[in-house]
């Protein structure tokens, strides 16, 4: 059994809570709901919402949105709805005026396609990984067996040349050696077959590479259009915000970033500097 380990319990306390609170607060800042362009034309519902909202508004829409969401906390509920209504209206109008509703619709249509392609990549890479690991599982024991037998055989031959073997022992050694050499090529050929399988399993790269390029094209198109819409519709002070969180996945490009580590030694240095 394992001996009880002393862990620094003090780390699991206010510090951690504060860190989480700050992160949680950064992650769930209320954002204006991006209204999906479900149809190209003006909808009656939207019009009705806008009318009911606009009825309470004194200031023109442009001025309201320029004040930004920071002011929301100080206003009443009515004001919040007013502002949201104006934002939705503004987004809707911008989309139509600029022709983005059609473009976004087209992009949205491509998303299931992209999802399918990504699922294909997951499948292909998983297959390849399994193939390689299976090949290693087969080849490893063969290699281990040959290694063990070679070492044992070499030891016995050493004793033979040191004149430590009787004639009978030498006869057994000769027979064993002959059997070993008869058996070895078969195993080595099998290992070779597994190595070839490992090489062949890399064929996914070509296939997934092509699919990834297509998905990147789709995402790029979608990103460009969404970006345009956001630039049109977002108040200035929100444009600089960066999303924060603890589940970001692999860092694709660490260049110029101070908030990430790129080597294990940097991890170790950071932990050490903090006394862990």
């Amino acid at each position: 059994m394992v001996k009880p380990v002393r862990f620094d319990e003090s780390g699991d306390s206010e510090d951690l809570q504060a860190l989480f609170d700050s992160i949680a607060a950064g992650g769930i800042t209320p954002e204006p709901p991006p209204s999906a362009p479900d149809n190209a034309g003006d909808s009656d519902e939207l019009q009705a919402l806008f009318d009911s909202v606009a009825a309470h508004v004194e200031s023109p829409p442009g001025e309201t949105s320029e004040r930004g969401p920071a002011a929301i906390g100080h206003d009443g509920d009515g004001e919040v709805f007013n502002r949201l209504g104006h934002m939705a209206r503004q987004l809707h109008d911008s989309l139509r005026q600029l022709g983005y509703d059609k473009a976004l619709e087209e992009s949205a249509r491509q998303i299931p396609d992209a999802r399918q392609r990504l699922a294909y990549i997951v499948q292909m890479t998983e297959q390849a990984a399994s193939k390689v690991l299976n090949a290693v599982d087969i080849a490893k024991p063969l290699q281990d067996g040959l290694l063990g037998q070679s070492e044992a055989m070499a030891g016995r031959w050493e004793r033979m040349f040191a004149n430590q073997l009787s004639v009978d022992e030498f006869k057994v050694l000769a027979a064993d050696t002959r059997a070993f050499f008869q058996e070895a090529p078969g195993r080595l050929k099998e290992t070779n077959r597994q190595l070839t399988d490992i090489v062949m399993a890399q064929d996914f790269q070509d296939l997934t590479g092509q699919v990834i390029r297509k998905v990147v094209d789709i995402v790029e198109g979608f990103e460009t259009q969404l970006l345009q819409v956001l630039i049109e519709a977002l108040p200035a002070e929100r444009k600089a915000e960066v999303p924060a969180g603890l589940m970001n996945g692999p860092v694709i490009s660490a260049e110029g970033r101070l908030d990430v580590v790129s080597t294990q030694s940097q991890v170790d240095e950071l932990l050490e500097s903090l006394g862990f």
């Binding site: 394992v2 580590v261 294990q264 991890v267």
Partner: protein
């Protein structure tokens, strides 16, 4: 490293079966043949609570329950809090590493990693806990 590595029971937690297999193979190379697997934190916690484990190697980003929550749950459980927990994750932000350390992680390895790194971190943890 422990005298008889096959006596140490590992739980490898990762939502990708390939990564679980790779870690399992690396552990096997080091003589740790007693390895069980879980595909997320929730399944892992269930298995850990059933008892018998000596060491946890976990990913961070997983469905149902992520690795940090698993680590916090382990540390909050009087029966489990002594377990060494080594995180192997693609999360490379400094705040991730700090959060893991503050939550009581025994070690932190960023993906992609090498067999040598795993070996070194395991040795360090075993030395610390006296297994």
């Amino acid at each position: 490293m422990p005298a008889d590595p096959s006596k140490i029971k590992f739980l490898v937690v990762d939502d990708f079966s390939t990564m679980r297999r790779i870690v399992r193979n690396l552990l096997k190379e080091l003589g740790f043949t007693n390895v069980d697997e879980a595909e997320d934190g929730a399944v892992a916690l269930q298995k850990l609570k059933a008892g018998g484990f000596d060491f946890v190697v976990t990913d961070w980003n997983m469905p149902n329950m992520d690795g940090l929550t698993l680590l916090q749950s382990v540390r909050a459980d009087p029966a489990l809090k002594h377990l060494p927990v080594l995180m192997i994750t693609a999360e490379a932000k400094k705040e991730n590493i700090i959060a893991a350390a503050q939550a009581g992680a025994s070690g932190y390895i960023v993906k992609p990693f090498t067999a040598a790194t795993l070996n070194e971190k395991l040795a360090k943890i075993f030395e610390k806990v006296g297994l």
